[in-house]
């Protein structure tokens, strides 16, 4: 343990607050100071200094009164700015919601609040979570703490930066095609994307509803698990949230699949080498590593960008200048108001995806694009089902490259989309996956390993991630 609360784990923070060795106010204050010192990384869109101090004071009052404290008592968290905290602006990284203050609160926030967590800020993200670098934020890009000239990954880049840079102990993001795992890998932290239906999405601003899932960032697997255990579970307000009946007990010696398609062309040699070392260490601890095939992997990006844009074009129809957010000045008529409100409010990538989504859903193209993508999505999901008949989980890289330079891929949307090549298939199949740091490049940049599990087997993939973490230390 070091002296600054910004360096503590979840368990250390809770323990010290419970024992009275530190007040929640002091732990929160240390993080708010760090946030101010590190503004240049642009981790947060809104710093919640006053609200965080009030929450912390409340925990200290409870402790003084001898009341029981929750499992996250006094733990400062970063919350992606597409998850609603009542009374706090929620921009989604967009101009169109610049001044919008949500009138209600996400289920995950209610649960974290009940567990004693303190929200220090709303973290930066690509506009409406559309992007792989956080460069598509209306509020400027976030920067990678390992090299501020490089991207942190996206779309939940702000939360990843906050956690990696000690501006929060842990954080929340959302993952539609890799938006938690990719920034976790590029910033050197742990990022969990739970099973579709494992965490309530009530109060998460919708992007692509058949893919979106709220996920967790932590500096360690244990921290990530502590936050996940609080937010998981059925919520009657989200019809896709699931009741689960406990998972099967995990065998001690696992059979881990090595999907050959994830180690082909386009994968950085250093990352490949790091994953091979990781696999060897897992083998040394008694696990079996066997090659498996996911033959439809090559179609992943194409399927993903048809389905996510189709769903986004429909979900984002709600930003019409009527119900909330920006409205264009002095329109000629209603239609003119819609068109100019949206033209002024949305950035380039959001417009690009709305257009593509509208195109693939329009009469004459629907079957060729959307219908076809839905069918290939089934083939991709079936690949995983077949693999899981013989393996307990899969080991892959999270990202084909380490963090790249800011601006490097901004002019080439297709090259940018290929950053998600190892992560999107997991969302298409609804599976859980975790990215865990497994090495460092010669240039000093973090490398992430991805462990993919069967539905609702988060505990199993987290235990593998914990082994990978232990091997590194």
């Amino acid at each position: 343990m070091t002296d600054s609360p910004t360096r503590w784990s979840v368990a250390e923070t809770v323990e010290r607050v419970e024992r009275g060795e530190v007040t929640a106010a002091a732990a929160t204050g240390a993080h708010l100071t760090r946030i101010e010192e590190r503004r240049s990384l642009n981790a947060y869109i809104t710093v919640m200094a006053d609200q965080a101090r009030e929450q912390a004071a409340d925990i200290d009052r409870k402790r003084a009164a001898g009341e029981s404290l929750g499992p996250l008592a006094g733990v400062p968290l970063a919350i992606k700015d597409n998850i609603l905290v009542a009374g706090v602006p929620c921009t989604c990284g967009s101009r169109i919601l610049r001044d919008w203050i949500p009138p209600y609160e996400a289920t995950v926030i209610e649960r974290l609040r009940g567990a004693g967590a303190v929200f220090v800020g709303k973290s930066n993200c690509d506009e409406f979570a559309m992007g792989s670098t956080t460069e598509n934020s209306h509020y400027g890009p976030s920067r990678n703490p390992h090299d501020p000239e490089r991207v942190p990954g996206g779309s939940s880049g702000g939360s990843a930066v906050a956690v990696a840079d000690f501006q929060a102990v842990a954080g929340l993001g959302s993952d539609t095609g890799g938006s938690v795992r990719l920034p976790a890998a590029l910033c050197g932290v742990v990022g969990l994307k739970p099973t579709y239906g494992a965490v309530s999405r009530w109060g998460l601003v919708a992007f692509a509803s058949s893919l979106d899932q709220i996920g967790v960032f932590g500096r360690t697997v244990a921290d990530t698990k502590a936050v996940f255990d609080v937010i998981r579970g059925h919520d009657p307000r989200d019809s896709t949230s699931m009741r689960t009946n406990g998972a099967r007990p995990a065998p001690k010696q696992l059979t881990i699949g090595w999907p050959e398609e994830y180690y082909g062309e386009g994968l950085d040699a250093e990352i490949r080498h790091s994953l091979e070392q990781t696999a060897n260490r897992l083998k040394d601890s008694g696990h079996k590593i066997i090659p498996v095939s996911l033959p439809n992997s090559k179609y992943t990006i194409a399927v993903y960008y048809v389905i996510c844009t189709a769903e986004a074009s429909s979900n984002l129809a709600r930003y019409d200048g009527v119900k909330y957010g920006h409205r264009a000045d002095s329109p000629d008529d209603l239609l003119d108001m819609y068109r100019h409100t949206r033209a002024e409010g949305f950035g380039d990538e959001v417009k690009r995806r709305i257009l593509l989504g509208t195109y693939v859903l329009s009469a004459g193209y629907y079957d060729a694009y959307y219908g076809t993508a839905q069918k290939v999505r089934t083939l991709i999901a079936d690949d995983f089902t077949r693999a899981f008949a013989t393996v307990d989980c899969l080991l892959t890289p999270t990202s084909p490259t380490c963090a790249f330079k800011l601006g490097e891929k901004m002019d080439d949307p297709l090259a940018m989309y290929l950053s998600d090549i190892y992560t999107t298939s997991i969302n298409l199949a609804g599976l859980p996956a975790v990215s865990v740091p497994c090495g460092t490049s010669k240039g000093g940049l973090p490398i992430g390993a991805q462990v993919i599990g069967r539905p609702f087997e988060e505990h199993l993939i987290l235990s593998v991630a914990e082994e990978i973490e232990k091997h590194r230390r």
């Binding site: 919008w100 203050i101 009138p103 209600y104 579709y196 239906g197 009657p236 019809s239 699931m242 009741r243 439809n296 179609y299 990006i301 194409a302 960008y305 129809a317 019409d320 009527v322 119900k323 909330y324 957010g325 920006h326 409205r327 000629d332 008529d333 209603l334 239609l335 003119d336 108001m337 068109r339 100019h340 949206r342 033209a343 380039d348 417009k351 690009r352 709305i354 257009l355 593509l356 509208t358 195109y359 693939v360 329009s362 060729a368 694009y369 219908g371 076809t372 993508a373 839905q374 069918k375 290939v376 999505r377 089934t378 083939l379 999901a381 079936d382 949307p413 297709l414 298409l428 609804g430």
Partner: protein
């Protein structure tokens, strides 16, 4: 399949997006490249067995709740973020002439 500026303008109308000529040209180029990339899916379906469209991912047969009225967002709160309201209503430019 080539995407013409007219296709882009038509799609933008459907999507309620006012685009400049420059945006139509630029986004049209991106759209053309992306849709050409996506065209590989046709070969996947042709190669694969008659795949069914995916849905639902993971089914929960008990998702239905009893059909009773639950509390919902009060009107004032629902209107709290609107750019223009009058009484309990959203106000918009005149729709019918």
């Amino acid at each position: 399949m080539a995407i013409t500026p007219d296709d882009v303008a038509y799609t933008a109308r459907l999507a309620r997006l006012a685009l400049t000529d420059e945006e139509i040209a630029r986004l049209g180029r991106d759209l053309g490249r992306i849709s050409a990339y996506v065209a590989q899916l046709t070969e996947a379906v042709a190669a694969g067995e008659a795949a069914r469209p995916v849905l639902p991912l993971i089914a929960d047969a008990e998702a239905l709740r009893d059909d009773v009225v639950q509390p919902s967002l009060p009107v004032e709160q629902a209107l709290s973020g609107a750019p223009d309201v009058k009484g309990p209503f959203f106000r918009v430019p005149k729709v019918i002439g």
